[in-house]
Each structure stands twice: as C-alpha cells, then as structure tokens.
Point group: C2
Chain length 336, copies 2
DNA sequence: CTGAAAGCGCTTACAG
DNA sequence: CTGAAAGCGCTTACAG
C-alpha cells in the first residue's frame, strides 16, 4: 500500500556515479562542482524524483525550515490576512508556516502552545497580539528561536517588532469625529483590558480628546471583549447611561458591528442619533449597513514585513532589535 | 540557559542514573518500566525541561507528526473554520497542522504546493475543494501520505472523503421558497462554472423546482464568481431581465451579500420585492441587513471529521476508503 | 525490568 | 574539483 522504497541520496549518487558528498553539494550549491558532474547529478535527481528527507537534514543542520504564527483567534479575519502575508513570503523561501491558535480564554493557553512550538524547534515565531508574559517571551528567545512580536513595543521584550501606527490612526479618526463632525459625547468600547491592541487604540482616543480640550468621559468608557458579542454588551451599557453618547468609538470592527446590532434593535438611527466607528477594516466592515467608518489595519503587509524580518535573522542578521511601524489610513463610510 | 546547549536524552539518562533506552521508553510508554525508575526519569525530564528533538525522532520513526490542509483561499471564512476544526483535533493528538494556499488562479498552483508538502513528508493531507487532477491525487497516495478529500465523491480518486449534503441542503431551501413562501420566479446566481461546490448546489435548486412541477427559468440563471463582486454583477443582470425574479438563490453567502448590495442601491426591498438566499452561513451572513436566510455548511465539523479520519489511518486503520456525509441545516433569517 | 549498540538519511569538517 | 567518514539525537531490535 505504501509506495515503493523512497529514493535517498545514495541512490542518486549511484545513478550519477559520484559520491553522496557531491550530490549534497550540487543540491545546496555550497561548493563548486564541475559543470559536467553537476549536469549528471541534476539529471539523476530529476529522473529519480529525489527529495531530501527533511528530518535527516534537520537533524544535521539544526534547522526545521519552519516558522510559526501564533494568534488568539484563527478565524478572526485580521489574523487570516496576517497569515496570508507571512505565507506568501515564507513559501517563496521554502519555509513552511504553521498557524497556531492560543485563545485568550478557553482552549490551549499561550504558554502551552509556545511550549509545543519550541519543542518542535521552529526556526522562528511570529507572535500575534497578546498579553504575553515576559517570561514566555524570554523562554522563546532562550531556546534560540527567532522572535517577531506584533503590535507591541520594542522595549516590552526580546525580538523584533512590527506594528501599525495604531495610536495615530485612532487619534486621526477621533479628531475627525470631535472636530469636523462636532460630536459632543464620544464614548469608547474596548476589548479585554490589558490585551493589545486595546491600549494603543484607547490612547489615540484619549489623545484626540485632549487635543480638542476635552477629557475622557469616564461614564462612557467600557471594556468588554474583541467580539461582536462584546460590542453588543458594551453598546447596551452606553445607551443606558444617564447621559448617552452621540458617538461611540470601538476598539475593533467586530465590536462596532455589535454596536450596530444594538442600535438597530433599539431603533437608534446611525449615524443620525449615534455615530459608530470601528478599527481594522475587515471585509465585513463594508458589508454591514450602514457601512462602517473605520481605520485600515494593513494586516497582510504586517505579515509580509514580519516574515522578511524573520528571514533576515535566519540568514544571520545579528544586528540590534528592529521595530517596523506601518502607517494607518482612515476610511470614511456611512456610520460616522 | 541562554540558548546554550540543548538538553538531550543522554543528559536525562545521566541525571536519572538510567540508560537512554529506559528514558525513551518512559516517555513513549512502549514498554513497562518500574514505578521507581519511572518516577526518577520523569523528575529528571521535568527538572531539565527535556523535549525530544523532532528531527531525530522523525528520522528514526519516519513520521513528522505533521498534517497539511490545502485550500484555494486561506482568507475565505469557510476555509478558516475548516482549519480551526482540523487543528482542534490535531493539536490534542500532538500533531502540527500546516495550512497551505493554492489559488485556483494566480499564486503557486496546486501541483507545486502538493510537491512541497510531499517533500516535507507530511503524515497526512486534507485537500479542500478543488478541481484536482487525478494524477496529483495519485502522487500523494503513492508517496505514502494519507489523504482525505473534501467535498467530492469517493469514486473520484484515492483516499477518504468528507462532505456536506449540499444538494439536499439547497433542495430544502428552494423547496421552502417555492412551497411555503410561494415565490414564483426564482433565479439562481452561481460561481465559476465547473468549480465545486457550484454543481452540487445548482443541482439541489434544480431538483426542488422539478419537485414543484417547474423548470429552471433559463433567463434567470447566471454564472459569475464566488465573491461579493460576482453577486453584484449577477444580481444586476437578473434585475434587468425582461421579467425579473421575485427571489434569487445564490450559490454562496458572498454572492448573496453582493445581491443585497444591488437591491439596496436600486431601492428594491428585500424580502418584500426580492427574496435573497445564500449558502454556508459565514459570520457575515448574520451581520448584513436584512440578515441572510441561508444553509449552514458545517465547516468546523467537516474539519473535525477529516482530522479524525486521518488520525485513524495514521493509527493503522487500513480498511476500505470511507465517505462521511454531514447533514445540512436551513437557517431562516430576514432576507427570504 | 533494563541496557549496549545499530542505524535512520542527511551535511560538513577533513583530506587529497 | 572530489570523496570517505564522522556524527546530528533519537528509537528499537536484540540480549540479558
């Protein structure tokens, strides 16, 4: 049932009439080989369909040619785009990418997942937004696995960083609400407290209000979860306030979509009586109605940059830690 | 422990005062070990933080403990759910899952991706919906990699199959439109012709009309692409027909969402003047308004079943090829 | 119940 | 420009 005997490097050597040393070098290109010999070896490789055994190679080289992406939610469209960006770059380099989920609550927790991945001796790990413990990060770094963190600050731990300019993006969005549009009571619905990108985005909201000479209306700030459910709960709370908001800034699009649900259900017109904004610009942002005013989070490009950074490191770049910041872009649609 | 020397099995053996053979057997549980010895070894493993090198193990066992999922579009929510289902089962078994994209058009093509994966000696592959060549499939099977195909028929190639009851699901949906609801002119917007799951779903539509003693209104059938854009183009065509439809059945949710766009833009009330239905029940289906009436495609459950099937095979099940069919479920919301 | 040793299939110093 | 051989870190017959 299982195919014939796998062809190995000795078979190729025999077919080409050379040593396995030479076959190996033809394949890797790591030392000069005469044109004639090279041709014979390449021909044998092709004829026999030889593909080196990755376990044997990995045992020798101490490399797995595999990198990992760890995210809290594999079905979140932002993370999916991220994965697509990483894969595009990694695939071209012959690196395999494994995407692992470590939910914030429920399911295998982050330390357990990171443990699995270091056990697998991955060459590098891209760590999606997380409230990761410093100890977890140090464990990765200590294991020799290269690390790229997403959406946090370079000072927060080992490894390189790629992030969007989130504070700036949110500041511009809220500046637009508070200035041009003249909304007076602007509330905020965040995700889980302490989980990025909540802090960055809240900070942008705060700064924009401060610029406009206002303070954060504490009674209009709620922290829930980065989900549609969270948005529903948060919006319900805000609309029940003694003095309800005329605009609500949400920490991501899913929360905003939940807020839209509540507004529709209660007959609150958007944006007439309540403006609603999101963050990320996931596909659904333009599918709901009214379509969401939001900020583009360049997920795919973040993924590409992270993969390039990782590959540089694997190629021996041992320079100081780097931080790559990608620009934001506000998208005005119908909801605000 | 600055990424210095990795601890290996000899270190554990030395620390526990036993042979590496015994350490290996304590870990694998493949032969009896006295309780006292076992305790000492387990203690040493814990103290030293030992994790077996997967390359070394793989070289010996000829296993990679890794499975692959290949899909045409990694950002499609259906495929994401599929991946989540597979991973949940695989992770619990200590199997790593790699998700690879092989676009129908553009990007690395299917044979190239399958080549990469067989080179990696994956233990098993789950192949998402595809117009895969028989030769590609035979290549996988011949390499000893176990194969599960999704959404096709068992007779179409080697390996096992998992699929939803799509013809049945669509038949029930259209039966509901044509019977209970009394829609008279029911149009159909399909994706690319010849690409699954288009055929299955069209067939269900056709059967339901036949049951109701009607024929397919040829002027109300259009084939575009499985995207929101495709839905817009298709709906525009149908609404421009000499005798427009009062209901339009779409081959998936994205198409239906595009149809909703066109209806809104033209001021055609849904479902009052035009009913719209989708298929898959992706997250966005309940986010748009009116919320989509659609059919649940149990993506996550399909993933779970595929992973279980694969694991059975890896555990030595050499029985005849199996086909698992999962039931459908119509979800009635506001759009029809 | 336990251990010594072969060998999985590569890559890479070392040698010519 | 090329080859013989060591060795990467495990698992598993084989032996006691």
């Amino acid at each position: 049932m299982h195919g014939s005997r796998r062809v190995k490097i000795v078979d190729v050597a025999a077919a080409a009439g050379v040593s396995v040393t030479t076959v190996s070098h033809v394949i890797s290109g790591r030392r000069p080989v005469s044109a004639a010999t090279r041709a014979r070896v390449e021909d044998a490789v092709r004829r026999l369909g030889y593909q080196a055994d990755p376990s044997a190679r990995g045992l020798r080289t101490q490399r797995t040619d595999t990198i990992g992406l760890v995210v809290p939610d594999i079905t979140n469209p932002f993370n999916t785009e991220l994965a697509a960006g990483i894969q595009a770059i990694a695939y071209a380099r012959g690196l395999l990418t494994v995407v692992c989920e470590a939910p914030i609550t429920g399911g295998p927790r982050l330390p357990a997942v990171l443990g699995q991945l270091t056990a697998r001796r991955l060459d590098g790990i891209v760590l999606g937004r997380f409230g990761a413990q410093r100890a977890d990060l140090d464990l990765i770094a200590a294991s020799g696995t290269r690390l790229v963190r997403l959406g946090t600050r370079i000072a927060d731990g080992p490894g390189d960083v790629v992030r969007g300019a989130e504070t700036e993006g949110m500041r511009e969005l809220v500046r637009y609400l508070a200035g041009e549009h003249g909304y007076r009571r602007i509330g905020f619905i965040g995700g889980e407290t302490g989980v990025e990108p909540g802090g960055e985005r809240y900070e942008g909201y705060r700064q924009a209000l401060a610029e406009a000479g206002r303070t954060v209306p504490e009674d209009l700030t709620v922290w829930t979860g980065f989900t549609r459910e969270g948005g529903r709960a948060g919006a319900a709370r805000l609309l029940d306030a003694a003095e309800p908001p005329d605009a609500v800034v949400c920490a991501n699009d899913l929360i905003a979509i939940g807020a839209l649900d509540v507004a529709r259900q209660r007959g609150v017109h958007v944006p007439g009586r309540l403006a609603v904004t999101g963050y990320d610009d996931i596909d659904a942002a333009s599918m709901v109605s009214p379509a969401l005013t939001t900020v583009v989070n360049p997920a795919r490009e973040i993924g590409r940059s992270a993969a390039r950074l990782l590959i540089d490191r694997l190629d021996g770049d041992d320079g100081p830690a780097r931080e790559i910041v990608l620009t934001h872009q506000v998208v005005r649609r119908a909801s605000a």
